[in-house]
Symmetry: C2
Subunit: 295 residues, 2 copies
């Protein structure tokens, strides 16, 4: 094809993809090309805007490191992550809903026994959580692997604090017991802004958007025979529940965080200042349930 | 908005962009979100595929340096660059057509007087070019700035050869004379594969596409009062004219490269092996012509 113009180029690129040996890759790349071209044609992207786009994507990639994932943040703030989450987690009624994974999960959360203080020095009001994991029939899910991570009272994850080095705080890998339960002590999460010192922060500023997320604790729960659950628990009356910068809020994920003014905590310890107690039951769907629901 | 699902999320993100103070940015970001979401919904992107996409974009950004622009290469190989070029360079009949800019332009091409050997040691059969730059009426465009860059006989640009350091070869910044003309000696361009050692190369391999571009010389011609012209000259009978990996070929850009078997070259020098002579006339459109044509 020698005479490419704005009208025939999409056809030319799709023809070039016709030989892709993997049918799923061909489907994805072809759709990507069609939608990308439609976008460029619709807005009649100028060459200066194209250059800005290239510079933005380049800077986004170069901001990524082992401890920071600016492309996940971009996907999150444009609602792409939550859309993919929703598409892949259309679960049966009664199952706990999923939400975004976010950019702050690490593969090295320290294993912790039930009852542990997983804050490990992270600042904040104490939080005492009692978690139960059940299946759709209400039976306990035993020995589920529960990955927990959250920000502290300053709104920071451990990996955002260079002074901590490899020290892990407010992050743990736990397991449910024979009753499907686990307990931990941590700190109360607070609302926080996503990192604004990179390209995504510049995009939020330029588009007049605030960078805040409502307070939440992340959970990733996996057990053989069950659909993996990536979710959060939010706190009622949070000022950002209706404007989460990453579009992750679902009403069903507002947890029952109860504030106490000090006294004897659920683990028997004495707490002088305020503390919080959370009871929550997660309901796992069986493996394959999400596929069936989305078909 | 607290109950985000795959159906209402696009509306939620667009609502968030409604406060963008720059109307053009609002238009572009809103269209980007709509098309990106439509893509994800259409292919029902899985979470594993989303992760692969994030990893691909991250690797693409991290492959970029002062001497390599992998995101431009991605845009080029998906036809996005040529689409933007076509949209922004719909010129009046008779004007030389534009094509892609490519990832190998540098801002530091050495200035060269007409008649110079701009190859400066780059290997290849000698090329003697005689260029004329005129307006739509055929009058010479005097003192136009002409940026020229190309690959050598090994298919490599200077910036792809670490051994050259900051040395610039087969690259120059020239000016047209009082007759709108300039002459240079360089080397004959050859077909070459785009760099395949990065994410874009992996994408081409996975999709069953070859990485080749037909032989070409790049020109970027600027003169006050004229629409800037970013283009190439290709060579007739090149095996890749119909399958350029970046979709940049236009029939009108096939230049008249004439092969000679050795003898006295146009600059009076004696050449023992084969050499090539190119005569070409570039026709510039007035400033504003492209805007009028695309409206």
């Amino acid at each position: 094809m020698r005479d490419i113009d704005e009208h025939n180029i999409t056809r030319a690129v799709l023809a070039r993809l016709a030989g892709c040996p993997d049918p799923r890759l061909r489907e994805i790349m072809s759709a990507l090309v069609r939608h990308a071209h439609d976008f460029v044609r619709e807005v009649r992207l100028t060459e200066a805007e194209w250059e800005q786009g290239i510079a933005f994507l380049t800077a986004t990639g170069q901001m990524c490191s082992g401890k920071r994932q600016e492309f996940i943040l971009l996907s999150d703030t444009l609602g792409v992550s939550m859309l993919a989450t929703a598409l892949n987690n259309a679960l049966p009624p009664g199952a706990t809903e999923a939400t975004v994974f976010g950019p702050f999960h690490t593969g090295d959360a320290p294993p912790a026994a039930s009852g542990s203080d997983i804050a490990r020095g992270a600042p904040g009001d104490p939080l005492f959580a009692q978690i139960e994991i059940v299946d759709l029939q209400g039976s306990p899910v035993i020995d589920a692997q529960v990955d927990i991570w959250q920000a502290d009272a300053q709104g920071l994850y451990d990996v955002q604090q260079p002074a901590l080095g490899e020290e892990r705080r407010a992050r743990a890998l736990m397991r449910s017991d024979a009753q499907g339960r686990l307990r931990f002590r941590s700190v109360m999460a607070t609302p926080y802004p996503v990192p604004t010192d990179g390209p995504v922060g510049a995009m939020l500023l330029a588009t007049g958007r605030h960078p805040w997320r409502p307070a939440h604790v992340h959970f990733l729960i996996r057990a053989p025979g069950f659909h993996p659950l990536t979710t959060h628990l939010f706190r009622d009356a949070d000022p950002y529940l209706d404007s989460d910068v990453v579009f992750g809020v679902r009403s069903s994920l507002i947890g029952d965080f109860v504030r106490h003014d000090g006294g004897t905590a659920p683990d028997g310890s004495r707490v002088d200042g305020p503390y919080y107690v959370l009871h929550h039951r997660f309901v796992l769907a069986p493996s394959g349930a999400a596929v069936a629901a989305s078909a």
